[in-house]
């Protein structure tokens, strides 16, 4: 193992279908595998969300679609969704979106595609571990989907799997086999993300090409490096939390359980505290938010600079704020737990550290805007999605400041206000970043271009529906609707927001259907899109110096040599408005 295997490869050995498309060790193929797996998972998660939105909007109606998509087990004899299955839908939607689409999908796709290409390496440090990482992810995805159709139902305790609900089968049937499968799936997912994360970190640190100083790396690389480190440091604590949970669930220990009565009968458990689980879980859970968000921000930095034809504003400030966000994300987790009766002193600590995050976030938002300022903006679909990200990042960030403050958080805690906040700031933002990345780097993935007009259609539909869903949700939350309730029509004080719930569901359906445009565009363009040129966006970074369809090894000749930073756009000393990183400095020119 180690560096030894590097000599084993011949120059032009024949690759079979299996080694090229299935058990591939080429980072570009692994990236496509991640993307397509994440797309499949995303489709499931969106369908689940539309189904439970139908339930929220019209709880008394029966829908054929429930039975069609989910099977007989999910509906009662009147054709209505069963209450415990409603919770299962919410849980699996959250889990798939957070872990499988926005963590595995976003990081897996773009880290694999871009890290070797942008730092100038032939492949990831260890292609084998990279392949293993993908296949563990695929297996985890399969188990998670499979758990939807086990007889007792999938995990139903919310994606945060708070005990005691997630432990006690007596409390909800989904905490039986479904929860076990959830834990198995997440264990494989964590292993996958650990293997991937180790690979990403060492590749960026060790395999940079000649001249690629850390301070010349594109901001995407900084964001990806920070994200990978966050993953390596935060997922292990989830392992602790999940391992103890599994012990409580399957072996009768009491780490999290204390004096519980189910149906009037006391359980054996005594002594433990579920608060412990929440602390362990959110030590992962909060960095996880930035594991989802930072890659999208990195992708945006690159796309905004390229398509404004301007250097990114405040390159070093951007690096600093990425690192600051990464650091702060570890010390703020308690703001998810303000209502657990935590010690007021600790509450104060968490309010303070959480509010600090606003500073680097604001630096990033303003730097994007100042980069756009007076730029000669090219409105490609990727650019539109990036600008959309800046918009949602600001909108969602503002409600974040409200939720960071314990006194303001407590009244809206666990209402739809929170749901709206995190869906805008981490759901929409990250998914926009993902779309932006796909539109921008599609030519590098497949050597063809995606259709621009369909891209615009996709963007405007997604943007309008995104806000259409989550903007009214703030008001639903402020009116006092708690999360994860089966039906809101039972409460007279919520009657006036039921119309809003119907509006939200309407936009959710349209927004879900709008993604068909994207899928059509994507799969049609793989085979039938117009052929791409080598550098279609006239961009500076190294990936555009490779051939149109790079083989395994990326560059045909020797590795490129880097002479400047990635953001030399509209440099007056050069004729072209972009200067690739491989162009040597002119006489007397000052490089970065």
């Amino acid at each position: 193992m180690g560096a030894h295997s590097t000599h084993a490869h011949g120059h032009h050995h024949h690759e079979s279908f299996i080694t090229k498309y299935i058990f591939s060790q080429d980072h570009k193929m692994i990236s496509k595998q991640f993307l397509i797996t994440a797309m499949v998972m995303g489709v499931f998660a969106v369908i689940l969300s539309v189904l439970f939105r139908l339930q929220i909007a019209w709880p008394e109606e029966s829908f054929e679609s429930m039975k069609f998509f989910l099977g007989e087990d999910y509906v009662d004899q009147n054709g209505l969704l069963k209450p415990d299955r409603y919770l299962a839908l919410v849980t699996i939607h959250g889990t798939i979106m957070v872990f499988f689409v926005l963590t595995g999908g976003l990081s897996g796709t773009f880290f694999n595609l871009l890290i070797p290409l942008q730092v100038g390496a032939r492949d990831m440090a260890s292609g084998f571990l990279n392949m293993l990482s993908y296949w563990l992810f695929a297996l985890a995805s399969a188990v998670m989907l499979f758990s939807l159709w086990v007889e007792s139902g999938p995990a139903s305790a919310g994606w945060t799997i708070y005990p005691p609900l997630s432990i006690l089968e007596e409390a909800i049937p989904g905490s039986g086999l479904g929860m076990t499968l959830w834990l198995v799936s997440m264990t494989m997912f964590i292993a996958s993300s650990l293997l991937g994360g180790l690979n990403y970190v060492v590749t960026i640190i060790n395999l940079r090409t000649v001249g690629m100083k850390m301070t010349r790396m594109p901001l995407t690389m900084w964001a990806f490096l920070t994200t990978a480190i966050l993953g390596v440091l935060s997922f292990p604590v989830l392992v602790s939390a999940v391992a103890l949970l599994l012990m409580d669930k399957s072996f009768g220990t009491s780490f999290y359980l204390s004096d519980i009565f189910v149906g009037g009968e006391a359980l054996d458990a005594s002594g433990g505290s579920p608060i412990l689980f929440q602390h362990l879980f959110w030590f992962l859970g909060h960095p996880e938010v930035y594991i989802v968000l930072l890659p999208a921000l990195g992708i945006t930095s690159e796309i905004v600079a390229t398509n404004s034809r301007k250097p990114i504003f405040g390159y070093r400030a951007m690096i600093g704020s990425i690192l600051a966000i990464g650091f702060l994300s570890f010390i703020v987790w308690g703001h998810h737990m303000f209502v657990t009766g935590m010690n007021p002193f600790i509450g104060g600590v968490f309010v303070f550290t959480t509010l600090l995050i606003a500073i680097p976030s604001a630096v990033k938002a303003f730097n994007y805007i100042t980069t756009l300022w007076k730029g000669s903006i090219h409105y490609t679909p990727a650019m539109l999605f990036s600008i959309g990200l800046v918009s949602t990042f600001i909108t969602g960030g503002l409600t974040g400041i409200i939720l960071a403050d314990a006194t303001l958080d407590i009244p809206v805690h666990d209402t739809y206000f929170v749901v709206a906040h995190f869906h805008i700031v981490m759901g929409l933002s990250a998914i926009y970043g993902m779309f932006a990345g796909v539109y921008h780097w599609f030519p590098k993935m497949y050597g063809r271009m995606m259709n621009k007009k369909l891209g615009y259609l996709h963007f405007w539909l997604t943007m309008i529906c995104g806000y259409g869903v989550f903007f009214p949700m703030h008001f639903v939350g402020l009116a006092g609707s708690p999360r994860r309730y089966y039906s809101y029509t039972e409460f007279p004080f919520l009657d006036h927001v039921q119309d809003l719930n119907e509006v939200i569901t309407f936009f959710a359906i349209i927004g879900g259907l709008a993604q068909i445009v994207f899928f059509y565009n994507y799969f049609y363009s793989i085979w039938n899109g117009p052929k791409a040129t080598k550098n279609p966006w006239r961009s500076n970074t190294l990936e555009w110096t490779t051939p149109v369809n790079p083989g395994h090894g990326n560059w045909d000749g020797p590795l490129p040599v880097v002479h400047r930073w990635a953001y030399d756009y509209s440099n007056p000393e050069h004729e072209e408005d972009f200067v690739p990183q491989t162009v040597p400095l002119k006489e007397g020119e000052h490089g970065h």
Partner: protein, 120 residues
Amino acid sequence: MERDDLIVNDSYAPMANHSEEAGKAIRKKIWKVTAILSILTAVEIAMGIFLSDRSADLWPVVKWSFIIMTVVKAAYIVLIFMHLGDEKRSFRFYIIIPYLIFIGYMIFLYLIEGFNVFTY
């Protein structure tokens, strides 16, 4: 595919390998650290046997000296046995500092929460 981007085979050896004489010095250091670790463990055990009265005035001192000795032992293992002390300064910091910060923060908060949690 030839990997000219990795540190290849031959360049590892000069980075890490050393001569017979250097080996002698290293072995001496290893035995010295072994002695230190053994003595610390012996002291811990002795204190554990003879000074273990939880209600004594001395107990907080004993407890903290346990923790300090543990950290000292850990430092010897990490820095000498795992050779982190021989790595570059920057690498040393990247490995240790984030860990210490986050673990320290966790210990601080969890203990406050632990004392707080059943007191409602």
